[in-house]
């Protein structure tokens, strides 16, 4: 494996190896750019993954301390776990379910299309939707997304069949087994899905796309990419001209190293990326790097989410087969007559018994709760995911009272729903319950949001440097050789699961960086 010197200041350093960082690293390496990717977590491959919810969580999840505030229920029920994300090579693409949807055109221009929404800090993306078409195609081909590029859809499992029947009974039209980064046939040296049902625990067949066993090893095979695992970046350093020059990171034994860099790309997911910029404050940048707008950490979005589970008088066995096995898209449109702007998707979801006990109604006890679990075998479930409103007060800040294992101030995540989020969730609960009632559900459960799986917006993209942290390429407005390459650059969240867009933006950013490097602009 290639190794670069710590003193090599010609390399691009990528921080984090998930959907954004993992893809960017490989794309750059394929173009002949030398990359050092630093990943806080360890390396786990399909043979290491375990079909066991809590054991897998212990293996992969990011459990370094974080704190929470605001009136979201996660802050009460899971105060130290605002997000359910991964610390490992490949990042959260090991956990993810694989739903891969493009944004709808109007969602790129939320401010223009939704108008002023009181209390929301809406903005248009500085990207034209047509600029993304080719990148979406590239991303779909990379991930092997079903129902795109001539790839077949996946077969529907029991959970889906219940959902589909209810959806059709309600008159929904856009109902199918989803556009999934899960192989319906062998594709790209990866097997077809075996319907094992542990997609959230890492796919042991490699049927689901994850950067851990695709982009990362392929990048390494070029000889242009070195991935250092158990490398936790503590600080980005800069010179007197304000250009960034390297990163300080802790290795697994707690030794601090300085890796020099020509360009630095931050892709630590939407809590760690702003945290790192804030923790890198210096006398020249007292408010943190790239923060002249004051927007670093602000406008945190997590999607309007919620779930509906339902029990029937007969078995469903929803845990069998793909975790996210189908979608209803009829409610994804923007239609303010429903009482809110933006839209939402309905996607089947199954949890195993251990997670169901933890997440169905956190904190609940007694027979009201346990009789639901008694019917676990007869349960079907769906997840609701829609566009939430960016708000400046929803933000990641440093909590200097709490330090992580490296002595670094941790991220505090403050979040409260916007009234639009609440109105959308209420609508989504009603529709979700109606879907199951239409198939004869005997009881339905409007289940509150889990710790966030979609984390967006904390270094958002803006045309005007006053409104956000990065420009249309993910390049920080303030520092020309510092980039943001993960979901934190999202200007607005759209209704769709974000990863396809994170990947498309990473491919696009690789083109841009490689171009700037060869033009001598970096």
């Amino acid at each position: 494996m290639t190794k670069f010197e710590m003193s090599d200041d010609s390399v691009v350093v990528v921080i984090g190896t998930g959907a954004g960082g993992g893809v960017l690293s490989n794309e750059l390496a394929q173009k002949g750019v030398n990359v050092v990717a630093l990943e806080a977590g360890g390396r786990y491959l399909p043979e290491d993954y375990v079909n066991d919810e809590w054991e897998s969580f212990g293996q992969l999840a990011w459990v370094d301390p974080r704190t929470t505030s605001g009136d979201w229920r996660v802050s009460k029920d899971f105060s130290g776990l605002p997000a359910w994300i991964v610390k490992a090579v490949g990042g959260t693409t090991t956990h993810w379910a694989g739903a891969s949807l493009r944004f709808q055109d109007h969602e790129w221009k939320a401010k223009t299309n939704y108008g002023e929404v009181e209390g929301a800090n809406l903005l248009d993306w500085p990207i034209d939707p047509r600029e993304m078409d080719d990148y979406y195609i590239k991303a779909e081909n990379k991930l092997g997304v079903t129902r795109t590029g001539g790839r077949a859809g996946l077969p529907g499992n029991n959970n889906y069949l219940v959902f589909e029947k209810g959806a059709k009974a309600l008159g929904y039209n856009e109902v199918h087994t989803g556009r999934m980064a899960i192989n319906s046939d062998d594709y790209d040296d990866r097997l077809a899905c075996q319907q094992t049902g542990f997609c959230f625990q890492g796919c042991k067949w490699g049927a689901k796309w994850s950067a851990a066993y695709t982009d990362i090893p392929r990048g390494e095979a070029t000889g242009n990419l070195e991935v250092r695992e158990h490398a936790h970046v503590a600080r980005i350093v800069h010179d007197d001209s304000g250009k960034v020059t390297g990163v300080e990171y802790f290795d697994k034994d707690g030794n601090l190293h300085l890796q020099k860099a020509r360009v630095i790309c931050v892709a630590g997911n939407s809590f760690e990326s702003p945290r790192l910029l804030l923790n890198s404050a210096s006398s020249m940048f007292p408010d943190g790097l790239a923060n002249s707008s004051g927007m670093v950490g602000k406008n945190y979005m997590r999607h309007m989410t919620g779930s509906v589970y339902a029990v029937f008088d007969k078995p469903v066995k929803m845990w069998r087969g793909t975790t996210m096995a189908g979608i209803i898209q009829d409610e994804a449109r923007h239609d303010p007559s429903r009482g809110f702007v933006g839209g939402y998707e309905m996607e089947t979801l199954a949890l195993g018994l251990p997670f169901m006990a933890a997440f169905l109604n956190p904190g609940a006890w007694g027979r009201g709760f346990t009789t639901a679990l008694d019917s676990y075998e007869n349960m079907a479930g769906m997840w609701l995911v829609g566009e939430d409103m960016p708000q400046e007060t929803n933000r990641v800040t440093l909590n200097t009272d709490v330090k992580d294992q490296w002595g670094l101030p941790v991220a505090n995540v403050n979040f409260s729903d916007h009234p639009n989020d609440v109105a959308m969730r209420e609508h989504a609960y009603r529709q979700g319950q109606a879907v199951y009632d239409a198939v004869g559900a005997t009881r339905t459960f409007p289940t509150p949001p889990y710790p966030s799986t979609h984390n967006l917006g904390t270094n958002r993209m803006s045309a005007d440097p006053k409104d956000g942290v990065v420009n249309k390429w993910g390049r920080t407005h303030d520092i020309e050789n510092l980039y943001i390459s993960d979901g934190s650059q999202f200007t607005t969240g759209a209704a769709e699961n974000p990863t396809l867009t994170i990947v498309a933006l990473a491919i696009r950013q690789a083109d841009h960086i490689a171009g700037e490097l060869s033009n001598g602009n970096l």
């Binding site: 375990v50 079909n51 066991d52 919810e53 809590w54 077969p155 529907g156 499992n157 029991n158 889906y160 069949l161 219940v162 029947k165 899905c193 075996q194 319907q195 094992t196 049902g197 542990f198 042991k204 067949w205 007969k314 078995p315 469903v316 066995k317 845990w319 069998r320 087969g321 195993g352 018994l353 251990p354 169901m356 006990a357 933890a358 904190g363 006890w365 007694g366 027979r367 709760f369 346990t370 679990l373 008694d374 676990y376 075998e377 198939v439």
Partner: protein, 174 residues
């Protein structure tokens, strides 16, 4: 404070062989508690039999599943039998028993109806004691592989080749 059922001197062996007094759990008073049908018996070291029996009943009342045997609830709470948490458990159980007495019963364990015991738990719902026991049960009970089949959950499936040929779409009542 009276214990129910009446303590009897028995060895662990006898406990395992014989069935003891009626009731959910026998507090044997020799450092053991046991199931009436002797399906299981457990030795306590730091906390008392009464305290462990109370924890087991409390676990059942918090997450009641009528087809899940006591042994699983015992496994879920037996970790509290340690020197560090001894005082915490003693205080929590004492408070619960005091509330039961105020309600006219000798203690929590001898409060006969689940509804009445649940009413007592409601009074301590916000206490660290209740929240610790409840929170611990979420994994302590539901993450026991042995309880999964009772709920129909099939657990690991990779080693069986997934469900592709084993009924991922076998629903027949739609």
């Amino acid at each position: 404070m009276t214990l129910t059922p009446t303590p009897r001197k028995l060895t662990r062996r006898q406990l395992l062989q014989s069935s003891v007094a009626a009731g959910t759990i026998a507090v044997a008073g020799t450092g053991f508690i046991a199931a009436p049908n002797a399906a299981w018996a457990l030795e306590v070291t730091e906390i008392t039999e009464h305290q462990l029996a109370t924890l087991v009943q409390m676990a059942r009342d918090t997450y009641p599943h009528d087809s899940v045997g006591d042994e699983y609830y015992v496994i879920a709470v037996k970790g509290y039998d340690n020197a560090d948490q001894k005082e915490f458990i003693a205080q929590g159980v004492a408070k619960l028993d005091d509330l039961a007495q105020a309600d006219g019963a000798p203690d929590y364990l001898s409060t006969k109806w689940e509804d009445n015991r649940v009413a007592l738990l409601k009074q301590i719902e916000d206490d660290a004691f209740f929240q610790t026991i409840r929170g611990g049960l979420v994994t302590g009970l539901y993450n026991q592989k042995a309880v999964w089949p009772i709920f129909g959950y099939e657990g690991e499936s990779f080693s069986f080749g997934g469900y592709i040929d084993r009924g991922f779409n076998d629903i027949n009542w739609l």
